[in-house]
Symmetry: D2
Subunit: 342 residues, 4 copies
């Protein structure tokens, strides 16, 4: 059994990692850490794990992380970059669900996250953990940067278009909408139910950290481009729907065929029939990204709809997918869960 | 007192008209009709109106509509076009909250609504009831076509840009999100709470009836243009947020100043400070449209956020605003209600 | 104009007081205080009040509270008891929306709120501000203790039964359900949308502070009794529904007639027809309490359903009702708002 | 592989049966019927089953139901009683998720469901499918009546008390709250999101069909008793929370020990530590019932909180649990899913 450690277990990413890894046939959860809840049973904080996870939270300084085969960081930005180097040196593989190793340019990190990067020399060995883009590199990686939630929904929806060079690179618009669990399990006024319930608003309109990340990923495959990204907070708990707009450079493009071909062999990307309108609940709790693409009125603009569960394909599920790749397991192992509808 | 009749009183538009007109100091509700509920007290269907509206629903065939000064149709599309001509001939003014008189071209009606228009000869006298665009024409109108809900949010957000000719006319994108009350008070699987709750999806991606209406309005002020419009269904009851994207043709444009100037004298359009992110709940129950506009990263793309209450500024409130204009009343009369937050 | 000061203006109680008092024809809001937001415009925190309240929040130490005719405390428990005595001595009338002056026994305060009462000598002059019970006393009061939200819903539903002595006094059960705005506008994990959304749970089952308050009120009219009170957190923003159970001592009681008679003259209590099932949205934003009472199967148990808006009749609306009484105004002044449905 | 047929596959019960049975290692879904959707792919109606269920809906008259080992009816009340006898005669085992075989007295059926029972002679062989009560009988049954959703939550919470004879049998009160999926996937005004969202109300206060069913079950173990049952509609999709009240006849009862002992060996009933407040989301998507019981203030009244997922333990999950028992499989087979939180 692969021994896994989870750092930052009292948030939603950590809870979701436990939901997925506890029944995983090839993984044993060795330790789950939480500074705030150290010493208390995991199942006290998360009653849905009663009878499933029997561990207590451990203090991250004392937990046997170095004895693990892999450590998953479900921590706020900035934590993994401090702790990962020692673990990597000890031969432990690391998957970071936060942003610490996503941007390859430390200067970009400073600009968007406001601090100096703690281990810029490690950025080169970090592999960006979007399996649909980087499968082979992930298989031999030691340090995986798990993509952002909006980023996953947006890039999976735009990659076929950008990769094929069929859209104008300065025409990309991503209007993304997320449930409030994306903001994490931290006390905050803005995501109180009484603030975020029965209301809708955009956020980060002037600039959001996922914008440079999306742009970096798309530029890897399509060269320089411009992207306008506007995230929105939706009065629901789970789910991201991104509606993506691009202007076709090649009007003869068969968009449906392009998408079906691009994702024909992907276990977790489902291209729906032409005319479909995917809903977030169809992927609730599952690791699937559902896509639909069309050209309204057969015009120049292509519209792509992309839905994921922000905590699964947008976080913990994708991390388990990466873990499977890291250890040579079937990529879908432990990720067969079906969306919970309604 | 102005004698008002409401046709189609058992839907949300009708209920909201009653909420606004019952305490209106210059209007008396003479009759409220409903085919299905005729003979039963209004307050039995709508307990929030207990003690406020003491009328019974009347059958539309028997109700004293011709004795009214104004009749408001809160009916499904296609009803007003049958009944309005006789009322107009009897000297009654008509405000239609449905789509019957919105499109000036009967051919366009046929294409989007699937039937021949019942009174194409009346289309010329219908005035499109967006006061911010057509205030003077409404004041002397006899037949007012109240705008669609998405249309109101989208056009108020784009009019300053299109009117000033500062954006590329083929670059317009409207990503609009609506609560489920926009679908009306009709039994339907798709808007059950168990279907629409805790989920998000687009609809009408291939083509929605509000698209030609938005385009018609914007072309009145800006000439030929292209618009991609994608509406979404949000798990909330009231509210529309439209995020609008356009590419600037004139990069020197001061977007904030343009919007502030355009709406300086408008009682129901509130341009928020630069950097604001309006939320739908700030206008819940009120007739206000709140707007914010900015250029992310000072780039070529301008992003406008526009929020309204779909049942107020997007329907009944705007109808009362039009009624006030029709009868020479102060435009804000009866519409002073403050948004209900939280 | 009555000069009113609001202390603790950055919470939901304060915001709702402003929504109700700003358009009140006899009241001027002189000052609104907030320690955290002092110096910033009220409308920045509460955009729904843009154009309605033009004040900045003031520091409570510097605000001209002593110059007001009445000061309303919308503060956490324990604040008003420190500040009220000096204001009262200065001739200012005080309405406390928190719990400080609700319990007449300072020992009971200590047991349930965990601190010594700061001015036990003032408890005797405090009048419990439930107008349906204490109208006359409120009219001549100087210090009003505004009732708790659950308390209002529960006591209005039980008072007719307890007052008439027709139920067994040891049989009272109150199963009350509240939206999350009742927990206030404070950062907290438990009322995050991602925690409280799409889920239901009881809270305070072992003992909740509203239980002794309900019991105190009911015992004033009915003598010693036993009450089991269980509050629940509902995934919605506003509203309380309390379902109340009692065993009839007098089986010949006509429950419907008893309730209609008890509340015949009350402007804000609406006894619905027999068999009704009031919904919280029928009172959303309004100061009305809607009640329905029946005996299922004509048995011994009477079931009462009581709905209020927790922020209006359960807090700010009732405070304005008390203010009207204090100053000899018509009791409904400024409280004519109709419930927002849907 | 056990060949299973699902009748009424286009509702939530049917969809949930497919979610649970498709990956079940011992069951093959042979056919899924739907009168309305016959001929169309299941995954078109239910996109969350894309790639999981490849069947088309079949017409119930033509589907190979008689070739199945077991047929599960997820149909409206009254359907199974017409079709089950022929299947039973053909040697097919039947599990009915509707109410047709729940009440043992056909006269009680007539009174509450308004029709004559179609096969009263079969009622004697029907086994009430609450495994915690009837495990042995289910193992040898041919016809299983799957319990109602409210009934499951309420009876599991009251059985230990009633079975041990420690509460007064005329003191039982069940205040139960359900998400709207309990009303099924039928077009209806009352469960539209715009009607049921952001609001709470009781229903069936005068008498609900689950009341005689609860009473029947409890009387099997505890003799004659009185029960007041009030269901409520909660603005969420899944979940039932029942708060149960009873007066202790034996004040020396250790309620916690009684519950722990009663359910010590039950795989799907989780008695939480004293003082817990179970939330519905802890069982979302899972077959677990979580219970907590306590005596507030150590008084005479015992309060039990019981949460289930209405579509799993309250319907499809319990049906699969019964199927496992019918065919001698481990009871938890295919039901290991962990609650989806948040």
């Amino acid at each position: 059994m692969i021994q896994a450690g989870i750092v930052g277990g009292s948030g939603y990413g950590g809870a979701e990692l436990m939901r997925l890894l506890a029944p995983h046939p090839d993984v044993a959860i060795r330790t789950v850490t939480s500074r705030g809840d150290a010493g208390t049973p995991v199942a006290e904080t998360f009653p849905h794990l009663r009878g499933v996870v029997e561990l207590d939270f451990e203090d991250p300084q004392q937990a046997p992380l170095a004895d693990c085969d892999v450590v998953l960081f479900a921590t706020p930005n900035g934590v993994a970059m401090e702790a990962a180097p020692a673990l990597l040196d000890a031969g432990v593989r690391v998957i970071d669900l936060a942003a610490d190793f996503r941007l390859t340019d430390p200067e970009l990190w400073r600009r968007w996250y406001g601090t100096d990067h703690a281990c810029p020399e490690r950025l080169a060995e970090a592999v960006y953990g979007l399996p649909e883009l980087n499968r082979e590199a992930i298989q031999s990686a030691r340090l995986v940067a798990n993509p952002g939630c909006h980023v996953t929904a947006v890039t999976l929806g735009l990659l076929p278009l950008v990769g094929a060079g069929v859209v104008q690179p300065d025409s990309l618009i991503a209007d993304s909408k997320s449930g409030t669990s994306g903001a994490g399990r931290r006390a905050s006024v803005g995501t109180l139910m009484a603030e975020a319930g029965e209301s809708l608003r955009a956020y980060g309109v002037a600039g959001h950290r996922h914008q440079p990340e999306i742009r970096q990923v798309l530029e890897w495959v399509g060269g320089p481009l411009e992207l306008t990204f506007v995230p929105h907070l939706v009065p629901m708990v789970r789910g991201i729907e991104a509606t993506l707009y691009a202007r076709l450079a090649k009007l003869e493009t068969d968009v449906q065929a392009l998408f079906e071909s691009a994702y024909a062999d992907e276990p977790f990307v489902d291209v729906m029939p032409a005319g479909s309108q995917p809903e977030t609940r169809s992927v609730r709790g599952s690791n699937v990204c559902r896509l639909a693409a069309l050209r309204p009125g057969n015009g120049e603009t292509v519209v792509v709809q992309s839905v994921i569960d922000n905590l699964v394909k947008g976080a913990a599920g994708q991390a388990v997918q990466n873990l499977n790749l890291l250890f040579g397991l079937p990529e879908t192992r432990g990720l067969e869960g079906i969306g919970l509808m309604p």
